[in-house]
Amino acid sequence: MSRKVIKSVTNLYDKKIERLAEVPDEKLPPLKNNKELKYIGRGISRIDGYDKVSGTAVFTFDKILKNMAHARILRCPHPHAKIRKIDITKAMNIKGVIDIITKDNTEKIDWYDGDTFIFDEHLRYQGDEIACVAAENEVIASMALKKIEVEYEILSHVTDKMTAVKEDAPKLYDWGNISPDANPAKYNRGDYEQGLKNADQIIEEEYNTQFVIHNPTEVHCSTVDWNGDHLTIWDSTQGIFAVRNSVAAALKIPQNKITVIKKYMGGGFGAKLEAGKYTVMAALLAKRIGRPVRITIDRKEMNLAVGNRPDSYQRLTVGVKNDGTLTALGMTMYGAMGAHRDGAGCQWPLRSLYKCPNVKVEEYHVAINTGRSRPFRAPGHVQGTFAFESIIDMAAEKIGMDPIEFRLKNYAEVEANWEIPWTTKLLKECYKQGAEAINWKSKRNKKAGEGKGPVKRGVGMASQIWWGTGGPPAYATVKLNRDGSVHVLSGTQDIGCGTYTILAQVAAEVLEIPVERITVSLGNTDEHPYGPSSGGSMTASSVTPAVYDGALQIKAKLMSGASALLGVREDNLVYSQGVIYSKDDKNKKKSIQEVVRETHEQILVATGARNARPQGVMLNSFGAQFAEVEVNLETGKVKVLKIVAAHDIGRTINRKLLENQFHGGIIQGIGYALLEERVIDHYTGKVLTTNLHNYKMPTIKDAPEIEVIIVSEGDDQISAIGAKGIGEPAIIPTAGAIANAVYNATGVRIRTLPITPDKILNQVYNIG
């Protein structure tokens, strides 16, 4: 099983990402269909279940070291200011305060791609970092924060993107407020103007989506410890290698002098994909004081400073013929990046969901005086799909066509941006099975809002496309012990999705041994081969093929060993349930334990690699969600009764964990559609929703009935495992499906998320 190094190419948004990677030289034999498999596809319980239900799982937040100091960050209370002077004297005099770092006593360290420094004198949002205190405990550290005296020059601020793009708005950067990367970012396909001329109907609509906050249960935190010149970081992170590389660059130390460890983590959802300033501050403090440092941020800081889904204003245009053919799609959108550059666009659903020859897009990504945006579960696609699938619903209604029929009429047989075929696309099957499950025909109101009485019911749907599908580089080491037990090691992370369990299932399937005999170890940059950051629905799709490859190599070694021991040619041997038999003589056999023992090796080791992505084809996941809602027009309350999620996500590796992911994505999608919103008072520039009192996420009582239908088997062009990834697809269409169902129930079209009772009543009673 030889190896080769390739340049792996991935199309992601408009970027062509090229990475060198070592991959298997030949295509590996694909897995059979799930019904013929023993471990993969089954609802196997999490192998890390014990630690979680017993509270013995040590999360980074729980990491305690001897003689550890506690660090807290002083943050700017103003949306926009410059530091005139910082005086730490009084704070340093508090008993128990050990050290304080600020811009005055540390080197300038570049951060956010050179937009700012770890400590900048220019503070661009409420929550920008000013100082970091190390103290004997958190209470003293918090007290010290109040005693640090900062003299500010208050600058005028702008916290609304549409104000920020005006000429006279206060500016955050010398380049202004509109990102040089998107001023505007343009995309053109065909002849948009001609497309509009060819249309029988033109629909123009404006949509707005809100800022939402990831709010994982575990706050961002690190515990750091220097041992001589070696730094160990326990971090609550989705990307251990990303953290290692950023911290090494920030501290100007070699990467082999840093170990990043993450075992258990209380959620991330995209907010923990990069190294945080807080980790660097903790490392600086720990070095200065010669003690381990634990740094945590609190819930208020979570809601101010560590990321959010950008908002959006989207002006959409759809040109359509009376027979339902789309002739033109147009989008002008503005999205707020927050105080530093980050993606804030959402054009991809419009560009890739349906067949349309003429498309025109202009995107503006705008800097404002609030915390920086970060990727949040399907960045861009969630905002974009809500708006685009809403206007598609309206277009269908305008020409009197059923929304599903309309989508089938404009079904894209080839990927529209590159005009290449997909490896697999089973979206039609999703429409069919989803519509049946929700009882589309009988539950849908022929005319929106036609139901009697103040409590209305209706159904709606929306489609989904996502990247995912994985790729190299990703590696996993498989070790077989003398007793037949197995270790699987990879430098990726399990952030709650069940990576530990699915990797064990893959090794179990190949080696034909029970899952209980497999231990999976993840999240250590020193001990594990490189694995990808956990984001973008890329972990399962990237790492499971690497484990598969590693396990196949182990199997090959065992076969060679058995061949030598038994004196039987390899092609005359058969491997079954951890025992190797001679095809001719079943009594001639060696168990895998015997092979390892008799070859006098303590362990057999192999490192598997993720295969190359196929070229000349497009790889996407697809799906459609169907919502049934009940709307009370007296109170404006929306209740989601049922969601049917029908998706093409390649192979199901673990049905239980897959449902976990879908339920989670859908319920977060319900939060996005109905509840969650970061509210800013534009006059003061301050965030009003800084705790879970005011930032409302769904509870168990808000969860509707959910039915998950998977229409796909493994896509073996993608990999031998053929998984496409499920984290993001689950959340993408939910808000659109709900908005369309609300319209079908009531005849009220809500164009601004979240769909709260006031917006419904305001429209019904026309009070604006």
Partner: protein, 473 residues
Amino acid sequence: MEAQIKFVLNDEIVECFENPALTLLDFIRKHKKLTGTKEVCREGDCGACAVIKGEINENKIIYKLINSCIYPIGNVNAKHIVTIEGLNQSEFTPIQQAFIDEAASQCGFCTPGFITALTCYLLSEEQYNYNTAVDAIAGNICRCTGYMSIRRSVNNLIDSVNANWSHKLSRIDNLVGLKIVPEYFRGIQNKLMEISTDVVKTIRLNEGKRIICGGTDLFVQHPDDLTDSENEYVSDSIASEITETETEIHIGANVSFEQFNRSDIIGLYFPGLHEYMHLIASLPIRNAASIAGNIVNASPIGDLSIFLLGINAKLILVNNKRQREINLKDFYKGYKSLDKSDDEYISKIIINKPSENFYFNFEKVSKRQHLDIATVNSAMSMTIEDEIVKEAHLSFGGVAPVPLYMAKLSKDILGRKIEPGLLQYVVDDSQNELAPISDIRGSKEYKSLLVKQIIKKHFNVLFPEVFTAEVIT
């Protein structure tokens, strides 16, 4: 400022000196290094820090769930506090097993809170069923979110507990036998008896110090002030009962929301009580929050303040020298300003026993159905004789700087007949007394509209035969 604290933590007697404002969560995690109990929101909104609190009442231990992040250690004297560590046994408990079997734990950070809440449910409820069990975990946030698998786990758990329950055995013997709780629970009662004699807490009221019953809002709004000031923590240390006389119901100041919810006396006169109370906070908050605290906190959207205004409750205020009675509607003078001197405290809340022709309804509109702060809440009571309004009280929260008693309207409708035309009259009249402001919970126009809608709802619920859907629309 430190006080002696003595209680049982899991199976161990703990004796320490601490600032009574120290939260139980910090004590558990930082002092005792029991990190299974998690911190997420630190304001009682997520249940990750939920622990079980037991105390002896009439010779048996009553267990309740509390959020340790807003529970002062000053209140744990002579109590049994149970964390996830105190539930673990050599094998999984049936609750833990149910969670594993249904993959009800994703990242796992919220899981100990769910396990603890469900254990407390089994320790405290008289009967077990799926719906009340789900209610018991409605205050636990899972962001991943594994609610569907958690529901399945709960369903399996309840079925199996009910199937294996022996009615011949005591609750604790059943729970120990089923391995829901460890063996040591049998000895807790003796341990609590043993220490209760050591813990004689002298309550010093009337000294102008702040008296804190539940503190469920104070610990969210002003945790640092509490650490720095001297306060009396009186949760459960002052008698708190609901009693009745021939004409009145007396509610002890320290009565918790959940006690109110479960009171047979209150339930008799307010049959919809449980439904209203389900809209008011999560169970652990209702277990800690007191009624007097809600009144004194003077939040313009305090749910029980609105409830009590809607039935024209009275307060008994006492200090060293005197005792006086005041109508709740006269108690609020302005935003967070009360007709109460610093040395006075509420000793009792009194409501008149409703007559036969008494009608009452409570409504709450919030962004999230459960566990949310009201955008607008309201209570309306009426006594009707021969279709004529003899007495009426209407209150609204969220539309004025104080919990608003609609004094003019309550008076204007006296003597009027319950007939379709009354509704429009009340709706029009209501707008005169409102002063809503726009805030994160809604615009003032929306709140004014909500007042109209809620009035319609009140009439529709109370007199459905007169105020039909046609009359309303």
